[in-house]
């Protein structure tokens, strides 16, 4: 998990994605080639505002065995205000989640891995 995690750390920490200046599409995670324009695309890096709304979600009881998610956890499909969509953990009470609920990205400590105590950070979402 280590190198795979650290390589993408800029976009995990800062919610950096891509914007195609040719067609106006936004993407997360970042991509090098616009799938709408391909060769004609002009893809630039973009920093998302971090605000968006919940499109769908699940309270996961039997989920990913992972050092930073204790079950049950909520995972949500979120549409960012810029238009890109993202799947991310949602930090709130399961009873308060609603379709269309406004959420914002927060920089959170995900957890510590093993005895070496390497601390991972990443993006979770919370209700606005």
């Amino acid at each position: 998990m280590l190198p795979k995690f650290w390589r993408k750390i800029r976009s995990r920490y800062n919610l950096i994605g891509s914007h195609c200046e040719n067609c106006g599409s936004y993407f997360y995670p970042p991509r090098n080639i616009c799938p709408k324009c391909r060769r004609k695309g002009k893809v630039r890096e973009v920093q998302f505002s971090g605000y968006g709304k919940v499109l769908s979600w699940s309270v996961v009881h039997d989920g990913v065995e992972n050092f930073w998610l204790s079950k049950p956890y909520i995972v949500a499909l979120i549409e960012l205000d810029e238009g890109a969509k993202i799947v991310a953990p949602l930090d709130c009470n399961p009873d308060e989640v609603r379709e269309g609920m406004r959420v914002k990205a927060v920089f959170r400590k995900f957890g510590e891995d093993g005895e070496d105590g390497i601390i991972y950070y990443g993006t979770k979402f919370v209700p606005v």
Partner: protein, 384 residues
């Protein structure tokens, strides 16, 4: 392109096969297929094997040659190709084998699918790598969670209910009671399905197909060669494949699998039929919501109206369009890379009239094999 026929089928038992290794499972399906086709073995010109993750499941790669070896083909030195496309590996292997015969390159080939998953404790984690590991699974969205988000949106948008999902599970379990090779051969009640614990809300234990061990084999031949071996060749009228964005969140519409729409449209065009001409189907019910969405994306129902087919019994064994007569992935078992071939076996048995107590009437059968949440779809249309 030449017409291609299935001349023999074989399938191992599906389930937690503790006393069988990968090779044993493959051989049990392979021998059955060779006997069914009446082949000695020497006629085989190539092997295409669907397998998702032998490296992680059993620590063995290079499994296409291994399959040929343990099927007794080593000294024939035939080319063996392993195909991987998540849990659509079997369907893609079938298509590769189909193209090899249709093109005229080979006359008789084996299309196999096999997976041995019960030697490791994390079978679902491995299957979930058919979704986007870095941007979905790492964030907590394994396959059940992703299909759960699909289900919730389908429910909200179209009024599909948890009862509808449960009914898919009940139907497929009922069909499996009539299938000797199915993993679960017991009926379940609607209450049992509805009262089972949540895995990823709104999906419950009985909405999720069990990942299991199993292997399936079909033998394909050109039309001319097929006539020498069988009086009941089953023709592949079309075998199409489509892809889509890897991650669910990148797709146009979470409640539609565009890969299924594209592959099926193309298959109908090639086979010169319409959705209404399909008499029965095997679809990829890795999660119950996937079967309901398949009804829509294959054109059996309008978008949003898939649940009607299960409510009205249309897709029951005695309905107008029986779906998953085998028991489906839910009750027959989901042996990952074997599933796409296993579906072809069921359709061939049905079209030949060899499906025993679960026999349905029909001239045209369709199978749908999906990888992950729909980044790969394979649609195959079969006829007598």
């Amino acid at each position: 392109m030449r017409r291609v026929a299935i001349i023999g089928v074989g399938c191992s038992k599906f389930g937690e096969l503790w006393d069988m290794g990968f090779r044993d499972i493959v051989i049990s399906a392979g021998i059955e297929a060779l006997e069914d086709a009446g082949l000695e073995g020497r006629e085989i010109e190539a092997v295409y094997a669907g397998n998702m993750s032998a490296g992680r499941y059993i620590g063995q790669e290079h499994i296409a040659s291994l399959i040929a070896d343990y099927s007794g083909l080593a000294e024939l030195h035939v080319p063996c190709v392993r195909v991987e496309a998540g849990d659509a590996s079997g369907g893609v292997a079938l298509r590769q084998a189909y193209m090899a015969v249709a093109s005229g390159m080979h006359d008789v080939v084996i299309a196999a699918g096999a997976e041995k998953v019960t030697d490791v404790p994390n079978a679902m984690e491995i299957l979930s790598s058919s979704a986007d590991v870095e941007w979905e699974v790492f964030n907590g969205a394994n396959l059940p969670a992703l299909y759960a988000m699909i289900a919730r949106m389908h429910m909200k948008r179209f009024g599909t209910k948890e009862e509808d999902l449960a009914m898919v599970s009940v139907k497929n379990h009922k069909n499996a009671t009539l299938n000797p090779k199915a993993m679960f051969r017991r009926e379940i009640s609607l209450e049992t399905a509805l009262n089972s614990p949540y895995v990823a809300e709104p999906l419950k234990l009985f909405d999720c197909a069990p990942i299991c061990d199993g292997a399936s084999v079909v033998i394909l031949a050109s039309e001319e060669v097929a006539r020498r071996y069988t009086d009941t060749p089953i023709y592949i009228k079309a075998c199409t494949q489509a892809s889509d964005y890897m991650a669910l969140h990148s797709r146009r519409d979470v409640t539609t699998m565009d890969a299924v729409v594209f592959a099926s449209r193309e298959a109908y065009r090639i086979a010169k039929i319409e959705p209404k001409d399909v008499d029965f189907a095997e679809v990829h019910d890795s999660f119950t919501i996937a079967e309901i969405i398949a009804y829509e994306d294959l054109g059996f129902a309008k978008k949003g109206e898939g649940a009607k087919l299960i409510r009205e019994g249309v897709t029951a064994l005695d309905g107008d369009l029986p779906v998953n007569t085998s028991g489906g992935l839910k009750a027959f078992g989901h042996a990952v890379g074997a599933t796409g071939i296993r579906q072809a076996v069921e359709i061939a048995l049905q079209l030949r009239g060899d499906a025993g107590k679960r026999q349905v009437d029909g001239e045209i059968g369709l199978s749908l094999n999906i990888g992950g949440t729909g980044a790969t779809a394979v649609v195959t249309i079969f006829s007598r």
